[in-house]
Amino acid sequence: MLPVDRLASVRPDGPFALTDKTANALRLTTVDSEALGLGLAPGMTLADARAQVPHLEAWPHEAAGDAALLDRTLDAFGRFSPMAALDPPQGLVLDVTGCAHLFGGEAGLMKAAARLSERLGLQSRLALARTPQTARALARFGQGGIVSEGDDRTTARRLPVAALELASAETQALRRAGLKTLGDVDDRPRAALAARFGADISSRLDRVLGLEDARITPVRPPAPVMADRVLMEPLISTEPLEAVIADLLADTEKALETRRSGARGFRLTVFRVDGQSRRIGLGVARPTREAGNILRLFRERLAALSTPLDPGFGIDQLRMEALHLQRMDPVQTAIDEQDQRAEALDALIDRLTARLGPEAVTWVRPADSHLPEKASRRVCASRPEADDGVRWPDLDPDSPPLRPLHLFDPPQPVEVISPVPDGPPARFKWRRVTHHIALAEGPERIEGEWWRRDGGRVRDYYRVEDETGRRFWLFRAGHFGDEPAPRWYVHGLFA
């Protein structure tokens, strides 16, 4: 049982159970195999259980930890198929159509899954069938194992009626009616069953018998293009990784070529033998499929990881996914110099982004705000945006620059000496240096965002120059005579 397995390394020896308070009594929620053997079962009150087995160890059940473990288990089992879904509270369902060959057929896959589950310290029962519901029912209520092609119905018929997962009253009713297995239920006319137990029972039966196939909803939608490499000899160092990545990229390139597409995102997942996995992604400005290019970018990305890749006890599988596909016809080499330059710039953006991160490589774009700190924004060069129609303000040809080249965020307080009411200061002190103002222009009044509760005070900006020629953009927040008193700041520095 998952909740008990999770605590395997910390729990005491001997019969063990987890409890939770339901209906004003402490009841067992999960029991380990030893306790099960001694006749205990989930649902018993702790008092009854202790009466039967005095040396029972019981701890409170923490469901949140179970959910987290199940999520991690999903990640680990994701190596077998990207179409993986949770089957709470302690199950997983994977759609392994077309994946078995990577692990040496269905039998090989089951063996690998059993090995993985053992390594994770979990006791599990595995079942492989044609539909998810059949497999699930066989794992939960049957003996698991692989169901051969066409044998779904016959195998499922041997399951007890509990496999229909009806309410306990209904299940009791079925048993009292003499229907012990699904086969018994299947043999009865459907109309009669529906009349007695509701229309629901028919579709449930069909699903478990494999006559109806309800697809699973994977936790993460699988990427449109994907390539896997399962390594017979796990890698214990990261050097040979590049060769495998190159291999995978060659496969994805071919797959993208057949779709006449390029991708704007690539994701590498590295699976370790101990069940842990790590995903490393990168984005490119222009859709691409050229393996050499992408390999170079991955090289940069791996070199720039903040925590380097740790092979642990070994890496035994790698997966490459191509995301955000876009139609891309056979690459036309740029003919004129301007096109070549544009391509070179995009390639440069990709390389610098892979090395320094998307937030470090940006364009500057105007934004629609009258507040100076919001009038300009950075756009990641690797994530191009559509033109929003906002433009930089027109410049007055007779004016010197009215906005500073550098802006402080947040504005820095300054101490103003000898202010003139509604005028620029004659002197101000900033970072322990007093500046004597020789030239000044202003005020340029910029209101706060009056439509917001915390919109900020009105600001009167002054372009000032001190005696040495250094030029500052100062502002006074609030009016002279306000309560609280207005405060002065330097917002930016002119060149």
Binding site: A344, L352, A360, P400, P401, H406, V433, L439
Partner: protein, 234 residues
């Protein structure tokens, strides 16, 4: 520099003013030193002006993060007012000097930019002669010019074609005692082509994208301003 005769002055009526085509050597590294840490914005502005005057966009500007606390970050509104088209300016943030140089080298070699500006802060060990040579090589290979701006640092031996020092100069006031066009005191410290070291006062005219020598006139405020004794000049 351009003229091998070594007689051409970079600024002044015979050279970098409007109408004259003489300018910075292409495919080489030029260094601009701020006269002090606080003059960093001035050095940035002068370097951007050089790039706008001499070369065609797009430009790549790599900046070391450390300067942000001292001077603030580059402001789009200010770039626009300076005469640049911010849409043609790719800004790259480097966490330290080593990565600043690596990113600059990458940008130069790609040949994608008209010029690559690099702004560093402080005396970093990474700025060695070897690093400078690598930059020069990358500039040559990519046929792109590099302008390395350094603030809060002393000039070191390097493979730079020219080396400049820049500080703020008082501007010529507009009417009503408003600050006028940005003015710089520019010094040529070193030039491989053997140009004479010299000092100028220049103004940046963004409309014509050129440097202008202010006409000598009685209205000019002298460079050495009246400063009360005891106050430290920036």
């Amino acid at each position: 520099m351009l003229s091998p005769s070594g007689q051409t002055r970079l600024f002044g009526k015979s050279s970098l003013v409007k109408g004259r085509g003489i300018g910075l050597a292409q495919g080489a590294v030029h260094e601009v030193y701020a006269a002090s840490g606080r003059q960093a914005p001035i050095a940035d502005g002068f370097s951007l002006a050089l790039a706008l005057r001499e070369f065609r966009p797009p430009f790549v500007w790599v900046r070391e993060d450390r300067g942000r606390h001292e001077t603030g970050g580059l402001y789009g509104g200010g770039l626009s007012e300076w005469g640049a088209t911010p849409d043609d300016l790719l800004l790259v943030r480097a966490p330290d000097a080593a990565r600043l140089l690596a990113a600059g080298e990458e940008a130069l070699r790609s040949g994608a930019a008209g010029a690559v500006l690099m702004s560093g802060w402080g005396e970093a060990k990474a700025f060695t002669l070897t690093a400078s040579r690598r930059l020069a090589l990358a500039a040559e290979q990519g046929k792109t010019t590099a302008i390395l701006v350094r603030a809060n640092a002393h000039p070191q031996p390097s493979a730079a074609e020219t080396r400049w020092a820049v500080e703020a100069a008082p501007s010529r006031a507009l009417d009503a005692r408003a600050p006028g066009r940005p003015a710089f005191k520019v010094s040529l410290l070193r030039s491989r082509a053997g140009l004479a070291t010299d000092e100028w006062i220049m103004e940046w005219d963004r409309e014509s994208r050129s440097f202008v020598e202010p006409e000598a006139s009685g209205r000019l405020v002298p460079v050495a301003a009246r400063r009360p004794v005891g106050v430290r000049a920036a």
